[in-house]
Chain length 199, copies 2
DNA sequence: TCTTGACAAACGAACGTTCGTTTGTGGTAT
DNA sequence: ATACCACAAACGAACGTTCGTTTGTCAAGA
């Protein structure tokens, strides 16, 4: 049997996995090495420091979300359709890059201040896209005028970011249904309303 | 000036604070000691191990949520009212015990398996109260019949549990308005009545 | 031949924890 | 009122271990 050698990308990927599972401080370089069949010290042939690994994983998370939201903003249609695209895009990023996302969401705070600041502002930028689309929807008259875009975007993102905590790919809920369910709660809530059409 | 001595409860409280901020593995016993003006070793006059502190804080979190939900289930009224009581109770627990809740939500997974199992089942029990109330509401006809109680409860709890990540007591949003906003999105969504978009 | 990736050994610092000792305090006997 | 003692709380040093990282070597590909 031929064991291929490890690349730097293998190491970053494994770091994302382990940081997601056991946390940055809960993962040692020796842990990480043995995940790849290496000694901890051998990792330093590829990287300069442990923190670099965290920076790399977290930055990738930020980039994935920003790219996704940029694509969503480019779809034709009004606020309703754009919001749905933002939601669907977010779900895709979470499900396709679960480890990176979990590290991005839970371990970014372990970065030192300068790196953390950069990540926070990327996150703000991302969230502003949700805020703006909801604002636009209120102005267009498709969303209720008593909706606070700031609060509503936080709530929708809360649902989206929590997916990593409970969703299991083999759990009988496919991603289309998931998007549908989130969009459904966000737009219509759970309550019966006389003026709301049943489907 | 009189410096009072530290009690065991002081230590548990400080542990909750530090575990919430820097994570369990990111907090050393020396860190924790100096937070209280003590050496790390001095903590062992009060406790047996670092993990005991985590167990204690996390258990308190579980207890707070279970008690809160028990009180909510006891209110008179239908599912709508009970759900609102569950939401308000959850918000109270989060805002009144922010450090404990943050440790409960983010650090419980660092517990060893036996402790973690117990905490997970407590959490399941808590979540089942939300699920049951929503089921009841669907049966009563006050919630839409196409609402999946399992999914809806997950989404509502996602919003509730994310509060610790963004809410600032001095941020101009009081807790009544917060409960109102959550209840509003959960029941009515953001969309203006009439029609769900065609797709 | 030169470069690369991994190894083995080792470094100093920090980790959780233990130990023997000191300090302050509050109750009891004188 | 004073002396004493038991006790809890904190200290400071040290334990064995693990941490992230550095160094030097060496085999295998290019």
């Amino acid at each position: 049997m031929v064991t291929t050698r490890n690349t730097r990308e293998d190491i970053v990927a494994a770091a994302g996995r382990m940081f997601a599972d056991k946390g940055y401080h809960g993962t040692s370089m020796r842990d990480l090495g043995s995940e790849l069949g290496l000694l901890g010290s051998s990792l330093y042939s590829h990287i300069d420091s442990k923190e670099d690994l965290l920076v790399e994983v977290v930055d990738e998370g930020a980039r994935l979300f920003l790219n996704s939201s940029q694509r969503a903003m480019a779809v034709d249609g009004g606020a309703e359709k754009k919001l749905r695209a933002l939601i669907a895009g977010h779900v895709d990023v979470v499900l396709d890059h679960l480890d990176v996302v979990r590290t991005y969401l839970n371990e970014a705070r372990m970065l030192d201040e300068s790196h953390r600041t950069r990540v926070v502002s990327a996150r703000d930028h991302y969230e502003s896209r949700f805020r703006n689309v909801i604002s636009q929807g209120v102005e267009e008259g498709v969303f209720r005028s008593d909706v606070d875009p700031k609060i509503a975007s936080i709530f929708i993102l809360s649902i989206l970011n929590a997916i990593e905590r409970w969703y299991r790919p083999d759990g009988g809920l496919d991603r289309t249904s998931l998007v549908e369910a989130i969009d459904g709660l966000a737009t219509s809530g759970i309550q019966i309303s006389a003026s709301r059409d049943p489907r």
